[in-house]
């Protein structure tokens, strides 16, 4: 019994700039190594990040769909946790690949298609320069914990504290 997953991977632009195909293969190989069958994968976008992550202010998103049986997801999580070229990742169960997704991925693989290189990195964020790793998640989390969870306290039951883990669903 296999399950289809959507995987979004935020890649370090440094790796993307060196070689997009190689950066993409790094992700699909890690998926394959853990027993997943990659159905399609493509560059979703290159963006300025809403907050600095691991000192990066921009990043490239890779969107992949894959099938995997049973408990293979744990190995995938472990591998992506350890790879410093992957700044963030998100795995979600999906019923089916969204319409048009395979076509877009195929377009990217076609001859003559050039993935635009990421713009040059912005200077390292000032927070990073001062606080190093502390500039990332811990401060974001600190601010989040000390900010009301809801704009309106009307829904008491829904005011639970967000967990980073809640962003992932297995």
């Amino acid at each position: 019994m296999t399950t289809t997953y959507e995987g979004m991977f935020l890649l370090d632009n440094q790796a993307v700039r060196a070689d997009w195909c190689q950066a993409k293969a790094m992700v699909t190989d890690l998926l394959g190594k853990n027993g997943a069958k990659v159905l399609c994968a493509r560059r979703w976008d290159e963006r300025k990040l809403a907050y600095p992550i691991k000192g990066r202010t921009r990043g490239t998103y890779l969107l992949a769909y894959f099938e995997i049986a049973g408990t293979g997801l744990n190995g995938i999580r472990r591998d992506f946790e350890l790879d410093e070229r992957v700044l963030r990742y998100l795995l979600l169960k999906v019923d089916a690949i969204p319409a048009g997704e395979r076509e877009k991925a195929a377009e990217e693989g076609a001859d003559g298609y050039v993935v635009p290189p990421p713009p040059t990195d912005e200077a390292i964020s000032p927070e990073r320069a001062v606080f190093g790793d502390l500039a990332d998640r811990p401060i974001q989390e600190h601010l989040r914990r000390n900010t009301p969870a809801e704009a309106d306290a009307g829904d008491g039951a829904e005011a639970e504290v967000a967990e980073a883990a809640a962003a992932e669903e297995s």
């Binding site: 979004m8 935020l10 979703w44 963006r47 990040l49 809403a50 907050y51 992550i53 990043g59 998103y61 969107l63 700044l87 963030r88 998100l90 979600l92 974001q140 601010l143 989040r144 900010t147 009301p148 969870a149 809801e150 704009a151 309106d152 306290a153 009307g154 829904d155 829904e158 967000a162 980073a164 809640a166 962003a167 992932e168 669903e169």
Partner: protein
């Protein structure tokens, strides 16, 4: 903000059987944030409990991926 006590009308309507709210639709999700980037309450979003739950999950996913800010 503080001077206005008028309840603002719900900003959106949604059918529960519409396709799931996608964390990748950042422009859509942005509409459900206060200027401080907090998620609007159910009263202000106009969503039912299930849809609000979906909305919150989507926004949290977008935040985790660096697509949306935690605070502004």
């Amino acid at each position: 903000m503080a001077e206005s006590r008028k309840p603002s009308p719900p900003i959106a309507s949604r059918h529960c059987d519409d396709p799931k709210i996608d964390y990748k639709e950042v422009a859509y999700l942005q509409k459900f944030l206060t200027p401080q980037a907090q998620i609007l309450s159910r009263k202000r979003s106009g969503f039912c409990t299930q849809c609000q739950r979906e909305l919150k999950a989507a926004i949290k996913r977008a935040r985790h991926m660096g697509l949306m800010a935690f605070v502004q």
